[in-house]
Amino acid sequence: MHIWKFGNDIDTDAIIPGRYLTIYDPKELAAHAFEGTNDAFAREAKEGDMIVAGRNFGCGSSREHAPIAIRGAGVQVVVAVSFARIFYRNCISTGVLPIICPEAETITENEEITLNLDEGYLTAGKRNLAVEPVPAFMRKIIDAGGLVEYAKTITELELCTK
């Protein structure tokens, strides 16, 4: 497993540039992921790798191409100090697990990460770092296998029920 580290305010144009938005295939998108920002990612990212980033990861455009490109490269977990709102929702929709970890920036590229989400922490190297719980409603979608699968389980939609 390799950790791909990024800084603060990584926008969705950096994750997948606008000129590739006519593409929808995960593997084809992955070939251009982080192009011009970190070209090694598209060449070397493998299944099981993780992204660790600073604040406001995924800000900018609503393009779902961004988490699709990340997933297409084999990355299923993004750990960040914080996420931009639309990107966070899009991760859950597309099967990428967004984990909010206030101390994410202390994680180094060579550390092994194991997730203990139910217990509220992740382990990086030998350190346990607190992670924020995933909201209950989002958890239902994740557990269903994404929003498409969740939608298939709905028999009657309950509107405005808190």
């Binding site: 305010d9 011009g36 609503s62 779902e64 909201p135 509107l159």
Partner: protein, 417 residues
């Protein structure tokens, strides 16, 4: 309980008291899709076993990012969406009408008090007429098109209060850039941004659209202005009313209140590569530029073109600058055409393109080479946004764009008499 605009909209739409922090499935009054995020939304709708959309009259569809089709894949996307519109009975504005956010508002497809989702992050623009409008991804959109509903966490609100009168050549774009500089690119993440104060009540709907449009650039879920007489006058004849009685209660709860003085404000610039990298134009004066873009959902309306034309006057644009003017919609284009602005721009050396997103997102035309510098009235200056990751994008108002295009370098529009 005292409520913000957002809480009032969700409460009235749900018929019960809803407060910030509540999570629920809320009904949708309109859903907007365009040529970039629409094809995937349709695919997801089908993967969810969708057969007919919840209400074809509530789907707003058009193409604006890559129009007329600039590549075979873009043409295929358009063709795919046209077939879906025909199958579902959705009115498709196709490639003719302009930028999605301008079209949705000017055609009366969204109303004050509506809950609106759009497959584009700048959907928050519709808050200018008092709608709660937010950008979503394509899978969420597939869900919204099938069920006419979507899961929401009702956001807390910020109250940004602006009073005073703008100086000459200073306007809504300078105000919103200064607010983003102040609050930073994630200062409003997951929050609704309410714009209040006498500067806002005296501001036109186009100016309010400029402000609400960029709420997302501070991370906001929505930007919103309480409907008033300005809203009423604008919506009259466009929509069948909507809810106009949405002013926030005096003791509504805000997570942050901030006051701004419009009279103190000078023209603002957002320098590369973040929208909160904002400073007075004087700090950047003299920076040479290769391209100027006047247009976009932020600043492509007639009012913006008039502001640029007013600065331009009888001058010519610098021969060293490529000036690209793109009206935000056919309606705005025709207003500019009839008032003589189009010929003014063309004779001054600009290229005036048909309504679309233009160079804003670096997908269609006006793409930058490494080392080039663009000055743009659009909303994002991210690295690589308009082409090469080694290019630079500065953001500004239409007045600053026009003054700078004349001089060939970033220029304070107040110095161009």
């Amino acid at each position: 309980m005292a409520a913000t605009i957002t809480e009032k909209i969700f409460s009235r739409r749900c018929g019960q008291e809803i407060s910030a922090g509540d999570v629920m499935m809320a009904p949708i009054d309109a859903a907007m899709i365009h040529d970039i995020t629409g094809p995937l939304a349709i695919t997801k709708f089908r993967e969810m076993d969708g057969t007919t959309v919840f209400d074809p009259a509530k789907i707003i569809m058009l193409f604006d990012h890559q129009v007329p089709a600039d590549s075979i894949p873009a043409a295929e996307n358009h063709k795919f969406m046209r077939a879906f519109a025909a199958e579902q009975g959705i009115l498709n504005y196709d490639v003719h009408e302009g930028v999605c956010h301008q079209v949705a508002v000017e055609k009366g497809r969204v109303r004050p008090g509506d809950i609106v989702v759009g497959g584009d992050s700048h959907t928050c623009t519709y808050g200018a007429i008092g709608a709660f409008a937010t950008g979503i991804g394509s899978t969420d959109m597939g869900f919204a098109m099938k069920y006419g509903a979507l899961h929401f966490r009702v956001p807390e609100s910020l109250n940004l209060i602006t009073n005073g009168k703008f100086q000459n050549r200073v306007g809504p774009k300078d105000l919103i850039l200064s607010m983003i500089g102040d609050l930073t690119v994630d200062g409003a993440t997951y929050k609704a941004v309410e714009f209040t104060g006498d500067t806002i009540t005296e501001m036109s709907v186009p100016g309010r659209m400029t402000c609400c449009n960029m709420a997302i650039e501070m991370g906001g879920k929505a930007g919103i202005v309480a409907p008033d007489n300005v809203t009423r006058a604008y919506c009259n004849g466009r929509t069948d009313g909507g809810w106009l009685d949405l002013a926030p209660d005096e003791d509504a709860t805000y997570v942050l209140e901030r006051e701004y003085d419009a009279g103190d404000l000078v023209p603002q610039i957002a320098a590369p590569h973040n929208v909160d990298n904002v400073g007075d134009v004087t700090k950047y004066e003299g920076t040479p530029i290769d391209q100027v873009f006047i247009g976009s959902c932020t600043n492509g309306r007639f009012e913006d073109l008039l502001e640029a034309a007013d600065v331009l006057g009888e001058r010519k644009f610098s021969p060293d600058v490529r000036v690209i003017v793109v009206p935000a919609s056919k309606t705005e284009y025709m207003k500019a055409l009839r008032s003589g602005l189009i010929s003014l721009f063309v004779e001054a050396g600009a290229m005036v393109m048909s309504p679309c997103c233009g160079p804003c997102m670096g997908g269609a035309f006006g793409i930058l080479a490494p080392g080039e510098v663009s000055l743009s009235t659009s909303n994002r200056n991210f690295r690589g946004r308009q082409g090469s990751t080694e290019a630079e994008v500065y953001l500004c108002s239409p007045a600053t764009a026009a003054a700078s295009a004349v001089k060939g370098a970033i220029t304070d529009p107040r110095e161009v008499a």
